[in-house]
């Protein structure tokens, strides 16, 4: 599933640009890396996801092409690491510039675009953030973090349909990404008033996160209680109309 999804990456408009400015071998390698990476390559929160480093064994290229690809990927990784460092050190402007430059040079990677989206969102630049996350998911439709950010920003803008769609895509890409389940649960609970759907998502979030979030446990209990009350009320109403 992940492989198929990622092969589609080359069909996006930006891939033409990539093909023009990067050697063919690098392009194929990028595709292969994405295609072979599977779910673990798309970092769920807190995980130390695989970095785009050595090509997998299935790559078959000439030794010269391999060397060029490796050099270029090493460069992207090094620049990404440096930008991340700036971000962690709260050097927002510098980090933003570094990610922007990286995104310009490697638009096929969703990492810099996602990081940029996060920085824009944190800087209250909602539209720019939305655009950045949209590019990120276009570059990598399996980027559950970017989808989840999109969902959250859509909900903030009261675009509940867009939010639900984005969270669902995050879950489709990574069903074990707990944050997407939590946010979708909150959307159903608070915004869409669909308690049964909210209950399902909260329960999944708790299962994935090891039942650690006690507040979510409370919300589950409350939804369960109101569900029981609704059922009882429905039974009473049904009794009332029984001849």
């Amino acid at each position: 599933m992940a492989r198929t999804t990622n092969v589609m990456l080359c069909m996006t408009p930006c891939s033409n640009f990539v093909r023009q400015r990067t050697p063919y071998a690098l392009w194929s390698l990028a595709l292969l890396i994405v295609a072979c990476s599977g779910p673990a390559a798309h970092k769920p929160p807190g995980s130390t996801a695989a970095r785009a480093s050595a090509p997998p064994a299935v790559v078959r290229s000439s030794p010269a092409a391999k060397a060029a690809v490796a050099r270029d990927t090493r460069d992207a990784n090094a620049r990404f690491d440096a930008a991340l460092q700036l971000m962690k050190q709260q050097q927002v402007a510098e980090a933003q510039a570094a990610f922007q430059s990286l995104a310009n040079d490697y638009p096929e990677f969703s990492g810099p675009l996602t990081a940029l989206g996060i920085l824009y969102a944190q800087g209250r630049k909602r539209d720019t953030a939305l655009a950045s996350f949209a590019k990120a998911v276009a570059a990598n439709p399996a980027n559950a973090v970017a989808w989840t950010w999109l969902g959250s920003l859509y909900r903030e803008a009261r675009n509940h349909t867009g939010a639900e769609d984005a969270y669902r895509r995050a879950i489709a890409a990574h069903s074990d990404y707990a944050a997407a389940h939590l946010n979708l649960g909150i959307l159903y609970d608070v915004s869409l008033h669909r308690p049964q759907d909210a209950l399902r998502e909260y329960r999944e979030y708790q299962r994935l996160s090891g039942d650690r979030n006690l507040m979510v446990a409370v919300w589950i209990k409350e939804l369960e209680a109101s569900s029981t009350q609704r059922t009882a009320a429905a039974a009473v109403a049904a009794d009332g109309i029984t001849p």
Binding site: K43, R51, F109, L214
Partner: protein, 423 residues
């Protein structure tokens, strides 16, 4: 008759009566009495009843003869009742026993007959009839040696008949009577109290519980329950807060005095009493507004708050989940309200402008630690979910946390602040 040859005696006397000639009225009554006594002695009580009735109707005799005949008439009916009862015919037995009172109301056996009639009605589960007979007994002869048993049977009949108030009245009479052991009187008071409660007669129930507690040897659990009920009546019915406070404090102190002899029930009641005392204290604290002069009102509020906290801590320490979570929620509320009171305190009139702004900043600094303590208390409650505890107090603590720290405990989206994959 002297030879106990009753058939012969009856036959001879009857012959004399049948001849009739020359018999004086006295002799006639004598023969009638012989016939009746002979039938009675042979166990033919129905015939004896007819004979004694005829004797009594035969004209005025001397008083002692009449009284004797009436007693014998009553006895003849009573014996018929006994025979019916022994044959398992309670309905007939009851009817005969009742007839004793109707035919010979002034006889000594009438009280026994009424008592036995009530027993027969009880066997038939005719509780209202049983109660009617016993009430008649009680009113006619309140000093009778059986009166204690009458009240016991009355209480039972009224209980069975769904009349708790009347049953409680009967138990209360038993509790107040000098007869019976102290334990019996105490138990009767306890039954009366419970029945008055069931009959929604709190004032009567208060008297019954107090009478129950008058016996110092009352079992601890029951005594604690009685004190609890008395506290509730004082709090909710008679609106006597001092009395309520006194009963609640007694529950706590009696449990403490019991030491190792205390029971789970007593400890639970003591925990609940501590919680109630803490809540009362918190309510008192809440009513002290931080008005000018602030140093005075602040001191009063602080003392009241500390007293509430001590009580609530005590309640929580008993370790009963429901009480502990309730006490913890109240603790959180007390801290929160104290912080809020500081923020809402009356500002000194002399302050304005920058000085006032600085003063308000100072107030916020003073209030903040109480909000932190409130959050900690509610977090403690929330943490009890890990031990499988869930109740309304934890739910309310969670609600308080959502208000106190919405950023941390609200329904906020989870957003990753970092994405460290290039892909």
């Amino acid at each position: 008759m002297a030879l106990k040859n009753y058939p012969q005696a009856a036959a001879v006397a009857q012959r004399a009566l049948d001849d009739g000639k020359g018999l004086s009225p006295e002799l006639r009554r004598y023969d009638m009495a012989v016939v009746a006594d002979a039938h009675f002695a042979q166990g033919d009580y129905a015939q004896a009843e007819r004979d004694y009735t005829a004797l009594l109707n035969s004209g005025p005799g001397d008083t002692s003869e009449t009284m004797l005949a009436r007693d014998q008439l009553a006895a003849a009916i009573y014996r018929q009742a006994e025979q019916a009862r022994d044959a398992g015919n309670d309905a007939a037995a009851a009817a005969h026993f009742i007839r004793v009172g109707k035919v010979a109301p002034q006889t000594a056996i009438r009280a026994n007959a009424d008592y036995d009639a009530a027993a027969s009605y009880a066997a038939l589960k005719q509780w209202a009839s049983a109660a009617d007979v016993l009430e008649g007994f009680r009113q006619r002869d309140p000093q009778h040696r059986l009166i204690g048993d009458v009240d016991r049977r009355l209480a039972d009949a009224y209980q069975q008949d769904g009349k708790p108030k009347l049953a409680a009245d009967a138990y209360m009479r038993l509790a107040q009577r000098d007869t019976g052991t102290p334990a019996q009187r105490r138990d009767a008071a306890w039954s009366a109290a419970l029945l008055y409660d069931g009959a929604n007669q709190p004032i009567m129930s208060q008297q019954a519980y107090e009478r129950f507690l008058a016996d110092a040897s009352a079992p601890l659990d029951q005594a604690q329950q009685a004190r609890r009920r008395l506290a509730d009546i004082a709090g909710n019915i008679t609106h006597d807060p001092q009395r309520q406070q006194s009963w609640l404090e007694q529950i706590v102190s009696r449990d403490r005095q019991a030491g190792n002899a205390s029971s789970d029930r007593s400890r639970l009641l003591a925990a609940q009493a501590s919680l109630d005392l803490g809540r009362k204290q918190a309510k008192s604290a809440r009513q002290i507004a931080l008005a000018l002069p602030l140093d005075k009102t602040l001191m009063q509020r602080k003392q009241a708050t500390e007293a509430a906290i001590a009580r609530l801590d005590e309640a929580a320490r008993y370790g009963f989940a429901d009480v502990t979570t309730a006490a913890t929620f109240e603790l959180g509320s007390v801290y929160r309200e104290f912080g809020r009171a500081i923020l809402e305190s009356t500002r000194p009139r002399t302050l304005s402008g920058e000085a006032l702004a600085e003063y308000e900043l100072l107030l916020e600094e003073q209030a903040d630690p109480f909000e932190v303590k409130a959050i900690q208390a509610h977090e403690t409650n929330l943490g009890r979910m890990r031990q499988g505890v869930w109740n309304d107090w934890i739910r309310r603590s969670a609600g308080a946390l959502m208000e106190l720290a919405p950023g941390r405990y609200g329904k906020n989206d989870q957003r990753d602040a970092l994405y460290d994959s290039l892909l």
